[in-house]
Symmetry: C2
Amino acid sequence: MSKELVAKPLVKNIYQGIRDEVENMDRKPVLSIVQVGEDPASEYYINSLKKKGGKCSIEVRIESFELQTGADQIIKTIHKLNKDTSVDAIMIQKPLPAHIDDFEVTLQIDPEKDVDGLHPLNVGRLVLGRDGFVPATPAAVLELIKFYEIRTEGKHVVIVGRSDIVGKPLVNLFLHKNETGNATVTVCHSRTNDLAGITKQADILVAAIGKAFFIKKEQVKSGAIIIDVGINEYKENEKVRYVGDVDFEDCYDTVSKITPVPGGIGSITTAMLLNNVLIANKTEKKNKKVLT
Amino acid sequence: MSKELVAKPLVKNIYQGIRDEVENMDRKPVLSIVQVGEDPASEYYINSLKKKGGKCSIEVRIESFELQTGADQIIKTIHKLNKDTSVDAIMIQKPLPAHIDDFEVTLQIDPEKDVDGLHPLNVGRLVLGRDGFVPATPAAVLELIKFYEIRTEGKHVVIVGRSDIVGKPLVNLFLHKNETGNATVTVCHSRTNDLAGITKQADILVAAIGKAFFIKKEQVKSGAIIIDVGINEYKENEKVRYVGDVDFEDCYDTVSKITPVPGGIGSITTAMLLNNVLIANKTEKKNKKVLT
């Protein structure tokens, strides 16, 4: 059996599951993406969502704005999308230009349409283990763990990185009292003393730090399972390729299992985002009011 | 210098700070406590809040209900208190009787009056480091850390216990990029394998597991700082006394600093709850709508 925890079989399942549900719906789910300015990575992600969405009958609409657009206009658009009953889900493509406050914009999204799970109400629901939207990347990590039947109970999970979108939700998820939880969880980051001393204790090591080849075999316990969340641009001989936060080749002989990049968490993330759109479609919209 | 991190001097400061602010207010802050049934521990806490509140001109009102009162009536009362502009803060005294769903009741509280910080919107704000209510016990831990100038940056903080009200908020708080954050954080609990192996790594050990004398010196690194959140009833020779989760006497020679019980986190907690009432009084009430 290969050591590689590849995304393909489980991604196939997720899309099949979405297709099966959407087939029986009167109205197909709709995701609206608010995009301000252009950015190659954003374009890539949006095109991928459009393409994958199309394959499972989820419509992806783009509300495109020029880079210098004011926050007021973006917020007006969000309010319009909140009220639009044909729109199930709203996503603000990041990064937003510097003159727009990310958090203020996020607060305007109806939490029941917030498929990125960034509204504080959804963040709180996640911590408390209540229904809400789990951000797509942490959701992808849990989905992989379920598919490959990786036991987390009593295991020491070490997360490298404490971002609002990956590290923090993951700590809270791994502490839940369920099949992907009950772990002993440690979070390390840029300020951690003796990082290797901590990461070497991990039964399951989650790398989410955003630095190419950051984790080497010296930082990994023999037999550990590595989940690599990183997707970093890497130039080699004038060519650009995407690599993880983990030095895959260096660590391969040390680990028992490892996710590849590409073909790992990244592809599951897109599927989980579209799955969140499906959930949004099925969720009763209780909050028509804008929450702050 | 004593090893004991005693609450007294900092509690004095907190109350003095509250008094100074309240003195200049036209209207004194009001906390309404909803109490269902009677329970000796609840009575004790409520009486303590009344007494301490009185000393710093915070009015504590009690809405008392019989044990068999239905959830509907409790929720009606919360809605009334939400609308009552003379009430700054609402607290539901726990435990609620089994026929009432804690979470459903909490969801009814206006988040701007939720001084216990239990509404998911406040939980999310805490994770994201945004203005909101930090539950009183974790707030007490941070206040102690600030007062005694305990450095957390780069330190390994180990939290024993993963409750919604102490362990989970603390993990998230210790990860913030501020003076009481930037720590490497590990959370252990009942499912942790080799608990001692983890707790022995702690530069700062926070015990919040709710078991008397649970932490012994064998589980503590020499020179560690211990913060004991536990308050457990303990019977000895027919007498009841309150003890922490840490075996204070057993650990005393091993540690560099330790909070006593009583006279530690517990007394700071009451002060921080009243401080949250002051914050609620100063916060503009933006959300008049009930959030779910």
